[in-house]
Amino acid sequence: MDDLLQEFLTETNESLDVADAELVKFERDPNNREILNNIFRLVHTIKGTCGFIGLSRLAALAHAAETLMDKFREGMPVTPEAVSLVLVSIDRIKGLLADLERNGGTEPEGSDADLIDQLLEMAAREAVEAAPPPPPAPVVPLKPLGQSLERELLPGEIPLDELERIFRMTESDVPVKPAKAPAPAPKPAAKAKAPAPAPVKEVVAEAPKPAVAKPAAASPAKEPVIAVQKDEDGGHGTPIANQSIRVGVGMLEHLMTMVSELVLTRNQLLEIARRNEDHDYKVSLQRLSNVTGELQDAIMRTRMQPIGNAWQKLPRIVRDLAQELGKQVDLEMHGSETELDRQVLDQIKDPLTHMVRNSADHGLESPEERRRAGKPEKGMIRLSAYHEGGFVIVKISDDGKGLDLARIKAKALENGLADEAELAKMSDGQIFRFIFAAGFSTAAKVTSVSGRGVGMDVVRSNIEAIGGTVDVQSKAGAGSTFVIKIPLTLAIMPALIVEVSGDRFAIPQNSVLELVRVKTDSEHAVRRLNDAPVLCLRNQLLPILHLGRLLGIVDAKQDMTDQEFENRLIAVMHVGNQSFGVVVDSVSHTEEIVVKPMASVLRSVSLVSGSTILGDGHVIMIVDPNGLAQSVAATGETAAANVLASSVHSDEDADALMSLLLFRAGTQDISAVPLSLVTRLEELDQATIEHVDGRSVIQYRGKLIPILVATGAPAQKGEGTRPMLIFSHENQVMGLAVDEIVDIVESRLDLEIASTSPHSIGGAIINGRATEVLDVGYFLSQAFTEDSRDTQTRTEQPRLLLVDDSPFFRNLLQPVLKGRGYAVTACASAHEALQRLASDNRYAAIVSDVEMPEMDGFSFAEAVRGQLGMTDVPIIAMAGSNPSLAIQRGRAAGFTDCVAKFDRPGLISALQEFTGTAQGEAA
């Protein structure tokens, strides 16, 4: 393709983008002549250039669009249809240009008669209706420059005002020409010959390239007057055009690389200077160092571009979307002048566009819904960007309906990202973050815009790829805000140089919050939760990663003992919304490092994002904070999976291991509760305890929750803090204040002694110590006495037969069921239950385990239905491993319903449903 054409394509595409944005603005503000003139000029330039290069099809289309816009200038009312038509024409031009590029310079076959006819027809129709032109809007220059291209002039471009002036001049001098024969203003020869990939292009200032005579048909008499006025207003564009030049990106990249090398060399020299006491060259070296620093800054700045460049297309996208979806959307943009590295800018362009589309599509409601919600019909999407530290923060917020928490939960369950128990323990923020998981889309229906389940995960990975993070905040009914945090530049960054078993690594400093030295008796102590070490730091529990083990340079099998942690340094890092500690041996210093990409064969190492050369000449690896954060999440998942696995096991086998939370409360003795029943661990500030109606409560996440101590008594207000276990059951949430969390263990749970007190299930040997296993159900019923009394008084106590071979579950469920107002008879085997039923069949329902030795739940149900002929009594099965399978088989065997074994709310509601109907029938 010849250079001229290449040049034309680049420039025309840029002009079209501007025209796009301007048109959208114009639609909202049809009286703004400034904008209209801008668009007109852009389209006009395109038309002229096309004609000049001999692209007749493009020229004809641009001409028709120009004709219509000319009518606007004559005062024709601006309608959305007309603007749409112009936009469609611009799209067609873009399409033609793309084809042109593919075909290597030949215009594609075909005709645009359809569009041209429409354009001309609209122009003609409106011309008839056209009222006398409204008084011209006061000419207020948008920018001091007087020409409102929404960007800096590209190097080598001629300011529009200047162009316009030349147009006028040609017009007055040259006799009127027919539309399709533009006067060829010869291009400067130097330009035409310049090879396209040349790193530096000459300044073109001699003659404006697209200067083409204006076709008479399209130039109304009034126009020159306006243009002249404008010239007087702001005709000072020329010097700017002369001051900037177009430089190839490759050249800049090369300069950047060289400066990086220079920085390295400087660092090496400084290192040598530190070792030598020879002062002769110190002053020169200092000077060199300063100059290098400035040079680095300057070169960095050449790579900087305003983020507005990435936003340019958004107004058009939002407008089209709004029309398509029948919504009204306002797009506000703040801080478009915020600059960032063009490499970074390129990377976030697509994610940003996607997120804005998302906000318009599912964030904002339809005008009707908005009216009903008492909001203005016009939705608002707000983009803002600003600098913070070494980062650029970009926020995309809408005032729509917010994320649908329930649907995200359901979807997370469906996709197997988390189970009920895990979800219950998660904060809303954590749940919202699921939308960034792969294949996750909550859009109920797939629109052309979004809802295909690709997107947010791609957005996240794009942003993480450049060392950024993305997070979401949302409030039901009030809208959501996406916050993207991206580094200003990827090339040079400050880093913490740490050492791990003899190897040094660089950790990007902007993700390190602080350094902490571990001291057992200080507040910076390392504790263990289920053997996993955590750092206690100002009321926060942070997971600890061992860098050496993660990277495989230290034997991973042996876990660190508490003594080993003593006096170790932990870098507290914050990535995304995750905080964690990273154990290192020592920290040597911080240094501005130049990031060197890894060799392609090493790029798959996930925890290392690059390498760098230190001042002493050594190469070291740069640790990837995102990789660390992911491995925190991964270990968390395996831990959760372990807990899950163990609980599933105990379903099948009472002897299997179970995770227990051990704590001290009241005495020196250890108490335990199954970890799966604990929703959360919190720190209770005893001063916040309040008393309501004889109960101790605290405000917890916007709710009042009762607080008990381990004896079942209400907690008393006091000083200081103590650990608190949060149990939740259906909507009931309560706190159990304890003295100290001791450990989380995997242990066999054999109840050795039966309980004598109501608050415990019994005693067991756990880790070789006698431990009292507390009954969570008892505490819940104590905390919510009134609620359970309600249930008791409401109905006559229905009788339940509970069949379960595991003593633990019998003991666990009995109090829960009793608390809900049932009289429970427990049997340890199906045979025992059948015997009981044979002598006494007045039970409102039977709750049976599925997996039991000798006779399982299915055979039991068959026996009840068949042998005993009890066809009406509801039998609710509790399935451990595979509820859906159990449901299928169970229906045939005679189960009324089947619930998962840990799903206590499910069991209760099934009981309420079925005992209710059973009683109704009996009465």
Binding site: E261, L264, T265, D503, L551, G552, I553, K596, M598, A599, S600, V601, L602, S604, V605, S606, L607, V608, S611, I613, G617, H618, V619, I620, M621
Partner: protein
């Protein structure tokens, strides 16, 4: 940048080979692709990298990926390798760690013999022929293929 080895291979007439010794075996590498011979110093190991990659080092401001040729060829890795041959592939610098560098031989391309059929298939991919010297055999090593295998193995893993 130097000619690619495949191009060099096709050249008629004589070829200059840099001979290198890896665990006793003599290999020849076309001189065009060898940028330099250097002594690897202060190699930084790369965690979780493929075993054949010894690490990276700074060679006059460039980061060079060091490949342990013994491991790549499946030879015993005992004994200390002290020399490296610097080559470049797709703009990235590699250093092949070998035992020692020998002399430069000028050999006639026509005299190169095909690989014996019973050559270990692992090697057959990387060796493009054999030259019979006075008292031993010199295997012609295609460095590009050797390095490509490095990448491919990673991708497969």
């Amino acid at each position: 940048m130097s000619k690619t080895q495949d191009a060099a291979e096709k050249a008629v007439g004589t070829i200059q080979y840099v001979t290198v010794r890896i665990a006793g075996q003599l290999f020849g590498v076309p001189i065009e692709i060898v940028h330099e011979v250097f002594t690897p110093d202060r190699i930084t190991r790369v965690p979780m990298a493929p075993a054949e990659i010894e690490g990276v080092l700074n060679l006059r401001g460039r980061i060079v990926t060091m490949v342990n040729m013994r491991r790549l060829l499946g030879l015993s890795s005992t004994g200390e390798a002290k020399t490296a041959v610097g080559i470049e592939r797709f703009g990235e610098a590699f250093g092949l760690i070998i035992d020692e560098v020998g002399e430069v031989l000028v050999l006639e391309g026509a005299k190169r013999e095909a690989n014996p059929a019973n050559l270990d298939p692992r090697w057959a991919e990387l060796i493009v022929g054999v030259h019979r010297l006075a008292n031993e055999l010199m295997l012609v090593l295609n460095v590009e293929r050797a390095l490509a295998r490095l990448g491919a193995k990673r991708n497969a893993a």
